[in-house]
């Protein structure tokens, strides 16, 4: 406990918080969907927020890709892209931070897992545990 108290005191003195807002400049990733096989696809819908577009899961050479194209989202802090087994994200794979609130963007699924049971793509505000939008892909 004493070690923790000292660490806490130091942390309290030097820590600060940043708002990790997502970039808003439109992007156009180079991923070419004609070079991969479409496995699943679905429309993105906002959940209490404005999100629209199409999410697609592709299988490429030894890797799987989630493509958001077209894509548009309301901005927010710490937005992440999740590939989830259900609508509650009870079990999910994080594809990383949302690259931009607008434009074509691709995300490699880390580890090239079996994605049979992963049927949802979610735009998830991780810091505040809020779902911005999701697509059921099938």
């Amino acid at each position: 406990m004493k070690k923790n108290i000292i660490l806490l005191f130091i942390t309290a003195m030097i820590s600060c918080k940043e708002d990790d807002a997502t970039p808003t400049a439109p992007i156009n990733d180079s991923f070419d969907p004609t070079t991969a096989t479409l496995l699943k696809s679905g429309s993105l819908a906002g959940i209490g927020h404005t999100v629209s577009g199409t999410a697609s899961l592709y299988e490429g050479t030894a890797k799987k890709i989630i493509l958001l194209d077209p894509f548009n989202s309301q901005n927010g802090p710490d937005l992440k892209v999740y590939l989830s087994k259900d609508i509650n994200a009870s079990s999910y794979i994080s594809l990383g931070a949302l690259k931009s609130t607008m434009g074509k963007q691709s995300y490699e699924v880390p580890g090239n897992p079996d994605v049979t049971d992963y049927n949802y793509v979610m735009i998830w505000c991780e810091q505040f545990t809020v779902v911005f939008g999701r697509a059921e892909i099938k």
Binding site: M1, S94, G96, P110, T129
Partner: protein
């Protein structure tokens, strides 16, 4: 590990039982007081109520030793909890964990949007009367239990994650460093006596809250379901002397 745990539990029980007897050798009767406090920091806060028996020791009765009970209600928003067991964070469970560096690879994160914990603990108070009106000291929860609603949290382990239910760890026990169990409050404080009945207290508060997930979400290096948040905040309290 169980042996060490039992020895520590016995030590705390021994201290709790015999402290009043030891200090009763002093001439003065214990001072009874009731403290009501509030603490706050970014996205979190506490309300606390404590009933404390303090004995004044020494020739000039400047040293304060006390025991009591404290209820602390912790409320937070979007708080990160980390792997709790010392066996994972430090690689061992003995007193030596105090001196060991954390093993970062073993520490995972559990993010809780709305942590709410009510901890009810026996506490120990140590203080020193600087003047007739001013005293300083330290108090810490020792043993007790916690209650709180189930809530969902986000277990984050690299690219893998799970949103699962969790509830406050029921049993609280002060041990050494990350060997601690459950939710424990502590304060470094200064106290100013306004009159014979009322004192004002300002404190720097450290509170650990702990959640247990419904399933052991962490699997490496071994299954784990306990996650701890360590918070520091400033607090203020009014202390009512009851005798």
């Amino acid at each position: 590990m169980k042996c060490i745990l039992m020895v520590r539990i016995k030590s705390l029980i021994f201290i709790s039982l015999f402290l009043p007897i030891l200090v009763s050798a002093q001439k003065s009767l214990p001072t009874k007081s009731f403290d009501l406090g509030v603490g706050g920091a970014s996205n979190q806060g506490t309300l606390s109520a404590a009933y404390i028996y303090d004995w004044s020791l020494g020739k000039k009765e400047k040293i304060i030793v006390g025991i009591g009970g404290r209820v602390t209600s912790y409320i937070g928003a979007n708080q990160y909890y980390s792997t709790a067991p010392a066996k994972l964070t430090s690689g061992s469970t003995g007193p030596a964990v105090f001196f060991k560096e954390n093993i970062i690879a073993n520490i995972d994160t559990f993010l809780i949007a709305k942590p709410r914990v009510v901890a009810m603990n026996a506490m120990i108070n140590l203080g020193y009367k600087v003047t007739q009106k001013i005293s300083v000291g330290f108090n810490i929860d020792a043993i007790g239990f916690s209650v709180g609603y189930k809530t969902r949290g986000n277990y984050i382990n690299g690219s893998q994650g799970q949103n699962v239910e969790a509830k406050p760890t029921v049993f609280n026990l002060l041990l050494v460093s990350d060997n601690d169990l459950g939710s424990l409050n502590s304060e470094f404080y200064g106290k100013y006596k306004l009159n014979e009945t009322i004192s004002l207290k300002a404190a720097f508060q450290f509170i650990f809250t702990e959640y247990t997930t419904e399933i052991p979400v962490q699997q490496f290096p071994e299954p784990n379901d306990r996650f701890r948040n360590k918070s520091s905040m400033f607090s203020a309290a009014v202390s009512f002397q009851l005798n």
